[in-house]
């Protein structure tokens, strides 16, 4: 028998600890839907701050005592602007977990999402090669050229970034087999959803994690247009049998059902179960609570690399449930399942300084998605039944993970 190979598993089903390093607040782009209102080129994390954060996290049982595995997330701005720093941080993590005999040496992943512009550079290639067995990189490409360039524009020229991102897609797909990308929908790009999804499939991206922005950007009629786009997309995916090789999280079987107030009372968002650290060494329950992410509110700082985490500041996050933060219309909603929220946006949009007021700007868009989704599954299952293919499909279908932010 020759080489023995193992397939990588889905990473522990979301039970891992998640630590996000906000390595820079700078980015080449100024995407129109970006929630990072305070981006700048001044706040770059120092290696010393990152080291202190790792030292604290590896010795603290308060926050991460129970999780068997960890995901190191690197975020910006554009994280690959700081790939050398990220590389040093990862090396330090590996070394320290090994020296300390920490359980996470055997159970870590490195994640980052990039705009893809620097993906081909030598520094980035070297980093990928060095960390390939633990690394996952997602390049954000938002769809076809029109849709991508509608939002994802250079900060200085205002020109679209599509062509420069596209150049790096083949290299990325070669590095990361079976990877997906995240597609974000805001009001202006609804007319291009169908073409965009099909375009991304044609590039060889098999899995699309799609979501509407949580901010209150929606205009009258957007929901109708959204439903039309998704329904047309459903027809094309089914008629051309793309469902056999591709997934698009717009279409998910488990959405659009009422939720039990007791048995299905979990919070959607993981804020408070993860930890973000910024250049100043401040800890946040998620990056969305850092100052540069907030339009209206002060940041929620839950500690720092010197003093550690203030456990009292975590209590509201860890006891937050669906019903306590939801308005009555959400509790009564008959298509509630799959309707997402972002705790940071809830906080930013709330009438008082609380995380306990759920923002509902996404309501009509969710309902439109549910209608199109129902159409998709009814049509698909009828086709499969008529062709005698349903059992086979059920057996092989891939789980689509929900995208929350």
């Amino acid at each position: 028998m020759g080489n023995i190979k193992d397939e990588a598993a889905q990473w522990l089903d979301g039970t891992a600890a998640n630590i996000t390093f906000i390595v820079t607040k700078d980015c080449q782009l100024a995407c129109k839907y970006c929630y990072l209102v305070g981006k700048n080129d001044k706040e770059r994390m120092s290696f010393l701050t990152a080291k202190k954060a790792i030292d604290y996290i590896l010795t603290s049982s308060l926050f991460f005592g129970r999780q068997k595995s960890v995901i190191l997330d690197f975020i910006g701005g554009e994280p690959l602007l700081e790939v050398e720093l990220i590389d040093k941080i990862c090396d330090y993590f590996k070394l320290q977990t090994y020296i300390r005999g920490h359980k996470w040496f055997d159970a870590y992943r490195i994640n980052l999402t990039t705009n893809g512009l620097n993906y081909h550079t030598k520094k980035v290639r070297k980093f990928i090669e060095k960390n390939i067995t633990h690394l996952s990189i997602t390049i954000t490409i938002d769809g076809n050229e029109i849709k991508h360039d509608l939002n994802r524009v250079y900060k200085n020229s205002g020109k679209g970034s599509y062509k420069n991102v596209l150049k790096n897609i083949p290299l990325w797909l070669k590095d990361f087999k079976d990877i997906g990308t995240k597609v974000t929908i805001s009001s202006a790009d609804i007319p291009y959803i169908k073409e965009s999804v099909l375009h991304l499939f044609s590039l060889g991206i098999h899995h699309l994690y799609t979501n509407c922005v949580f901010e209150d950007v929606w205009k009258e009629g957007d929901d109708k247009l959204f439903e039309e786009q998704l329904s047309e997309l459903a027809d094309i995916i089914i008629d051309n049998e793309y469902y056999k090789d591709f997934t698009c999280s717009f279409f998910s079987e488990n959405i659009g059902k009422p939720l039990d107030p007791i048995l299905e009372n979990q919070n959607w968002c993981g804020a408070g179960k993860m930890l973000a650290v910024d250049a100043a060494g401040m800890f946040y329950p998620c990056t969305r609570f850092a100052g540069y992410s907030l339009r209206e509110k002060k940041p929620i700082i839950i500690g720092n690399v010197r003093d550690g985490i203030d456990k009292n500041k975590l209590r509201p996050f860890l006891t937050l449930d669906r019903t306590t933060q939801s308005p009555q219309k959400c509790l009564d909603c008959e298509v509630a399942s799959g309707c997402a929220w972002c705790q940071g946006e809830n906080y930013d949009a709330a009438e008082t300084n609380t995380i306990y007021q759920r923002a509902t700007a996404i309501c009509l868009m969710h309902k439109a998605r549910v209608r199109a989704n129902n159409y998709y599954w009814n049509k698909l299952y009828r086709k499969l039944e008529l062709e005698g293919q349903r059992e086979e499909f059920e057996k092989n279908k891939r789980k689509v993970k929900p995208v929350d932010c």
């Binding site: 023995i4 590996k94 020296i99 067995t133």
Partner: protein, 91 residues
């Protein structure tokens, strides 16, 4: 290259090889960071790599004997950590 399902292991057995797989990958990537300057740590790493490699191979040997999986002269087995299934890849 053909791929054929040839067997399945128990979840406990899968956990054992997954843990060794993770450790082997971690050690391999740490080896790119560590230099011989740090003699004590370097020696520990080399020893760990040897031991983990041996345990890794032992697992496959033991399981192959236990389950008597189909094999092929130039093929290799692989495991799906999600399903505990064993596949034979052969030319």
């Amino acid at each position: 290259m053909t791929r054929k399902l040839v067997g399945q292991v128990t979840p406990d057995e899968k956990n054992e090889i997954q843990s060794l797989f993770e450790r082997r990958n971690g050690l391999n990537e740490l080896a790119k960071v560590l230099t011989a300057d740090n003699a004590e740590l370097y020696e520990k790493l080399v020893k760990d790599m040897g031991e983990t490699g041996t345990k890794f191979q032992n697992w496959w040997d033991t399981m192959a004997r236990k389950y008597n999986w189909e094999s092929s002269p130039n093929g290799n087995w692989e495991i799906n950590f999600d399903t505990c299934e064993i596949f034979l890849n052969a030319e």
